[in-house]
Amino acid sequence: MKKVFLHTLTIRIWHWINALIVIALMITGIQLRAPGVEEFARRMAFWIPEYSMAVLIHKYLGYAMALSFLFWVLYILVSGSFRVHYIPRPSDIPILGKQALYYLFGVFQGSENPFIPTAEGKFNPLQKIAYGSVMLVITPLIVVTGVLFSDIFFFRGIIDWLGGIRLLDALHVVASYLFLLNLIVHLYMCTMGHHIFDHVKAMILGFEEIPEESPSKH
């Protein structure tokens, strides 16, 4: 086994704080979109904030999310992490298909993961596409539309130019569904390490233990 250092302390702290923000925003967001959920949750004995409280939580955590996102952008740009981990490279193209085949079939047959994360590149091409689209397209879209919602009179010029509140609302919600889909897949894929909790451990401790020999012989 060898230890591969993947996540800096800053990124690990950011990840978990951001995770809490996202989960709270998701729950309150669903509640705002479908107020009936509140009644349903109560019946299932889940604690869920009141509608009015949900509006407030969603608003202020929304600001927190905007800050969190800004921090992330600055961090990956300044630390060089963006250049190293996020930009697709020509060498990614042949792995792309293999990676997809591995997730769909290979994993059940016990074949080895075609991609081994290293400090010089922690994302496989599929991850680059997924994380890239979430962090560089979907999140900014949610954050910007959300901020515009915070004072529709102040931003009225921009909102009208964009096509009105309904369109703004639609963009915010479409982006949120895409985010949710990615989140569900993300939560599942984090169990796909060598051992079920390896990836989670890595996000806590920073490094991942990767077998030196090929996993099939293991």
Binding site: F108, S150, I165, R166, A170, V173, Y177, L181
Partner: protein, 555 residues
Amino acid sequence: MPILVIIFLFLSSPVGAAVLSDDCFNCHEDFKKRTSHESIACTDCHLGIKEIPHEEKLARPTCNACHHKTFERYSAGIHKSKGLACNQCHEIHGKKKGTGTDCASCHPNVAHKALPSRGKHLAALNCVACHGKLDKSGITATVTLPKGATLDRKTVDRDGNGFANPAEWHAFEALLDQKFKGYKLEKQYWAYGDNHEIMPKAADCGECHEKRTRFTSAEGRINDVTSYSVQITPRVFIPEFPSLREFPKTVHGQKGVRCTDCHISKDKITDKVCVRCHEQVYHTYEKSIHAKKGATSCTDCHNPHLIKTYKEFNAKERIAICSRCHKDYITRHEWLPNTKLHFDYLECTTCHSPGSEKSMVFFFADKKNNKKNPLQYEALEQVFGQDVHLKSVINTYAENMVKGEEIGRFVVDLKKKMGEGIFVDAEIIVTKVHHDYSVTRLKERNCITCHSPQAHFYNSMYLILPEKDQHIYVPVKGTLLSVYPIGMALDIYLLGEEKITKDDIYALLGKAPEGSTAYAKSLGFKLIDLVGVILVILVILSILAHALLRILVKR
């Protein structure tokens, strides 16, 4: 030689010849210790003493030889005419120097039964404020902000004219309540006059409340890190008194109510007076939280002397009534997205009085320097001529209702005549009042309650037109969008409708008469939810399948 002349003159002067006070003290020993008038001789007041022993009967000393100015004022006042002498208030040889006794020593606990709002008046004013001729009077409102807080002069005097009018001052007080917890506001009604000139009759109410010959100026002192003063209209602190001239214009006056119908005694009007006519309304109100908590009587919200009727108040003015007590209404509604924006278009009872009838109302307004002002009759009269009935100008078919197109056409015309700032403004207000305001924590805190075509006030729309003496409400025919064809209205109207509902789903599952596909196409933005939820379910199912397979092959 000249020295001898001076000595001679000195010895022959009357001072030298008169009786010395020390000689008086040989008999009147007590007066040696006198504490007032101690610098003058006994014979300066007790005239006619040429030698000792003096005659038994002497003339009464008079004060006016020295105190002639005071005496003049005293002569004009009631104390002189009642035969009160100086020494009845002043101790001439007194222990204390120069003090007259205060009013209460002769007039203790004056009931002031005839004085309306007795407590307020007596707490704030001294005796001369009403009973004396005033030399100087005014109001000083001192605002002390919490330590370290600062407030710009412009927050008090918004238009920068050096004068805070009632609107500016009330806005300032609201701001203090909201943002500067722990601030202090002390009002001082100071009045300086001469206690000697007490008038036979107290000043009448109108001197302060109508003609304003007393307390003619008011000053606000704001003590923050620095300290500065702003002049304030005294009307802010001393309310306008309803004058007989204006009363016939009020609703009560128009209906023939006379002063004495309500003012049966000099006491403050209580609910018992109102209930004699407004019985039904009062019984509704009686059962509400307001009445039960005993916090509010009719006159706390309603001013029976007001010329404007409730109908003529716009949303902002209606909120102003409630916010006199519920000052924290903005912070309490922070949950409401875009709180302030909502309160520009709603009044409190739009939500808090479920029994009331609410309507969408439209009115013409002028936008100048980013301030919206509803058009008044006087302005319209200048354009359309005297005694114009706007309804007949707008409504060419002379029906009972106006149509959206008619309003639109009229606004275009009005813009040409009165400038580009003219527009149609809208509010959602109560048009038929129900007096139960008990509903506080609304269960329907849900955007769709208002932001959907199902909200009932979209079916009850009125155009408010200012007429000569009143506002009239003309019913509007058509849909909101035909009256108010701007993007914002469309957005607000339909915003809550973008969400898919249970009924939509049932309809899609084959119960829609026009077929599922056609129904799905008609859903518009609601399709986002439909597609979104289906995708989420599909993804979860595939993940479950993937996980199951992994468990089966033990990977």
